[in-house]
Subunit: 207 residues, 3 copies
Amino acid sequence: MPIAAEQLGLVLQWLDLAGILVFALSGALAAGAKRQTLVTFLFFAVITGTGGGTVRDLLIGAPVFWVHSNVILFICFAAALIVWATPARLWRGKTLDWLDAVGLAAYATFGAAKGLAWGVAPLPAMAMGVLTACVGGIIRDLLAGEPSILMRPELYVTAAALSAALMVALTLAGLPGFIAGPLAALAGFLLRGLAIWRGWSLPAYKA
Amino acid sequence: MPIAAEQLGLVLQWLDLAGILVFALSGALAAGAKRQTLVTFLFFAVITGTGGGTVRDLLIGAPVFWVHSNVILFICFAAALIVWATPARLWRGKTLDWLDAVGLAAYATFGAAKGLAWGVAPLPAMAMGVLTACVGGIIRDLLAGEPSILMRPELYVTAAALSAALMVALTLAGLPGFIAGPLAALAGFLLRGLAIWRGWSLPAYKA
Amino acid sequence: MPIAAEQLGLVLQWLDLAGILVFALSGALAAGAKRQTLVTFLFFAVITGTGGGTVRDLLIGAPVFWVHSNVILFICFAAALIVWATPARLWRGKTLDWLDAVGLAAYATFGAAKGLAWGVAPLPAMAMGVLTACVGGIIRDLLAGEPSILMRPELYVTAAALSAALMVALTLAGLPGFIAGPLAALAGFLLRGLAIWRGWSLPAYKA
């Protein structure tokens, strides 16, 4: 029951671009927090903005999405320049967390949808959404030498899993992408938002 | 002289599943040691269980093995749930090391065999076994913020190299997979076992 | 206006081999600095020597360059054995930095050229050069538990970007590879060399 590639549609394409932009911003902000140079800003913006989607495309055997046009890298470069040129106080506090939340929900949804569109089985399609939503942030944290977001107590992977699972379930239930996509992305974003705002977390493992 | 894909046979398929299961368990245990949530357990089990084979398949140009069926992820999810639901003292001590040893030997052997089956040259086929056997544990350690197993003094990469080299040599010598596979896996497992049990190590570099 | 694969020519192939050899040496030296065993030397030499080119080939959809012949791994193994067998004082001081500089410039140039040869758009071709030149060193630093070269103050990514951008620009301007290649590699090497020698750096971000 995989959906056709063209059915990914406009809404999902916007989710994809939103994911790329906000992850690129979050990468540039991580470089900023470490007082790096403009070139490292660009490097971090590209790696974080494209990392998740790159892994997704390699796994499903699709051509890597940013290789055959200049647009995606322009977006990442623009994100880096925006962060570089604006006062740091604009980005203080939880800005990075909220950008990351948008990227997480958008990428988890789009990743699951693209997986289904390429004929991936349902469970791997869900995993595709989760993995690719998390990979950008994971690489960013690894390169910056920060503790991985994966290991922090708040809900994070869970929010990506909610978006991805919902996208797969709603699509298999027959909903078109322009309805399933926003619903799935919104659910994951709200859950991650509650985690940021109220400190929600799943129960941790007790030995 | 590459062997045909079907000759990989039943024994090697069991080695593959064994590698996936025990690496998934070791990933879940690493999440448990860090007091993570169930969702992070699942994430670590999937990444550690499938990481090595994923890199292998990307390198040899094969379709990534877990993408087109639900079975492999079910195994990883089951491993995560088993670790989550059982008392931690079951897994104390060197359990993680021994599981990792089984995964290492099984994956090194199967990785080399699959490399040969896909027409990879002998030396890269051996490297394929080693790299893919080590990648799961390396990613697990990186994500958990642990020092990489690569850098610990005991024999580790060496045991994978023994299994992989033996598998390539025995296959090129004409032995069928159902004999070469168990022999190669057993040799690597024994060597790694001696390293765990007796603290065996290769001589370190002296400046 | 992509150049044909055969036009990569002899000079670029030498740049490629130079990149592999010096990154392999730098990987082995990192293993040596951590007092590792011979097998870990080999592992680090292979990962560091082939890592950048592997990522490049996966991204552009080319067969991974070291998989179908034994030669590349022989080079990496030889690099590991050379470092293992020679007195450490030969390699003291800034040796690792200078080897890394040669590899960086060579790989950035060759990566951009191979990207163009495979029909990649200009901006991604430049990024291909940068990413693949930096990936070997990044993986080496991650595995060795060292702070990433990316985060150190000196010019590093910038030098790779200079080589890659020059290679793309000169090629699009119509220069043949045997002129554009050495020019681009030399420019990047000189810039990185000045960074090592005089401590040159770009201005860092001010909050």
